[in-house]
């Protein structure tokens, strides 16, 4: 099977994975915030490294990226990508403390706590995504510890792609956006990018009953 030649049917299966995973993550975030969180229809793309970075706003776009290696019967990378300002808003909202900032002007301790809080939020949301996926497929999946970086998208995203880059120059990316709005005004928008390793697709499709 050439994993990069997806049929429409296989694409639909991968979209369903995004739906189930990000849907559960959106529910978790909604519980944390006590507010409604919406999600978009997942987007499944075959992309090279430069195209993956274009998906999150281009190589110079400032982002906060929380990344996990997915381990278990399916392996790959999960990346949560958020604007730095929106990540800061999220941390302040959940800690009820405006002192926790993610900008460079912040002093060491406050920045460290803010980053640690953001990593923990990432942990919870990725855990929700993978738990739902695990329940759906019956496959055992778990995330690694979180890796957090805040900088230009090119610099951050390549870190997540290093493992896959040893095997191929292309990846299949399941991209689902979740957003929380208040009075029609966008507060937080985050992208869940699930990038399974190429050898995981066969197992994924087989497990879901399509050979």
């Amino acid at each position: 099977m050439d994993v990069f030649q997806l049929t429409g049917f296989q694409k639909d299966i991968l979209k369903e994975i995004g739906n189930i995973g990000a849907g559960n993550a959106a529910t978790s975030l909604s519980r944390l915030l006590g507010q409604k969180v919406d999600m978009t229809v997942p987007n499944v793309e075959v992309a090279d490294f430069n195209e993956v970075i274009a998906l999150v706003g281009g190589p110079e776009q400032p982002i906060a990226g929380i990344m996990f290696q997915v381990e278990g019967e399916i392996t790959g990378v999960m990346a949560i990508v958020v604007d730095i300002e929106e990540a800061e808003y999220l941390v302040q909202k959940l800690t009820h403390n405006q002192a926790f900032q993610l900008s460079e002007q912040t002093n060491g301790a406050a920045l460290e706590i803010a980053m640690s809080a953001l990593s923990e939020i990432g942990n919870i949301l990725t855990g929700s995504y993978l738990t739902a996926l695990s329940d759906f497929t019956g496959l055992h999946l778990q995330p690694s510890v979180p890796h957090l970086g805040m900088d230009m998208a090119g610099a951050i995203m390549t870190m997540g792609l290093l493992e896959i880059s040893q095997v191929t120059d292309y990846c299949i990316i399941i991209d689902t956006e979740i957003r929380q709005e208040e009075e029609e005004h966008e507060q937080i928008r985050g992208n869940f990018l699930f990038i399974p390793d190429p050898e995981s697709f066969q197992k994924l499709f087989a497990t879901l009953g399509w050979h």
Partner: protein, 163 residues
């Protein structure tokens, strides 16, 4: 007369060349290394953006030579020599450690490893490094102007500086 300047963009795992007055750049370097090789007198330059240090670690048969330091540098050198470049020097940037939290992965120190591999490949080809801005924990956008042989470096929330 050709006076319009074009900026040539180099992506990840990519290598390109330019001649003056055009300039060449790569955006958002993290642990990757941008290597500029140039012939100052002739205004010829090339830029490689490598992701990984060593092609022998590749897990696939058909590899992209421009992705690895050990293969991309000789390729870039050859491309420049075909353009007639002779007295070739290097400037390098990148190799940062990007994760503030959770650095203990199998890719710990990947920036340093990339840097060592680029330096090794340049040494092997007897190319001297005129200047460099490597390491640290910030991403970089770099642009080289073959007319002046100046490499500008931009980091997030910092002023542009030249090396």
């Amino acid at each position: 007369m050709h006076t319009m300047k074009t900026i040539v963009n180099v992506g990840i795992a990519d290598t390109k060349t330019v001649t003056a007055p055009d300039t060449i750049r790569t955006l958002g370097l993290g642990s990757c290394i941008g290597t500029v090789l140039y012939d100052e007198r002739q205004g010829i330059a090339g830029l490689s953006h490598v992701l990984l240090p060593d092609s022998s670690q590749a897990k696939a048969g058909n590899i992209n030579l421009m992705k690895y330091a050990d293969t991309a540098i000789p390729q870039l050198l050859e491309m420049l020599q075909e353009l007639g470049a002779k007295n070739i020097k290097a400037k390098i940037a990148g190799g940062a450690q990007m994760f503030q939290i959770g650095q203990g992965t199998s890719f710990m120190r990947i920036g340093d490893k990339n840097m060592e591999a680029v330096q090794g490949a340049l040494r092997k080809s007897n190319i001297s490094i005129v200047s460099s801005d490597v390491g640290g924990n910030l991403g970089r956008t770099i642009e080289f102007d073959p007319t002046t042989s100046i490499l500008s470096v931009r980091k997030r929330n910092h002023d542009v500086f030249t090396i």
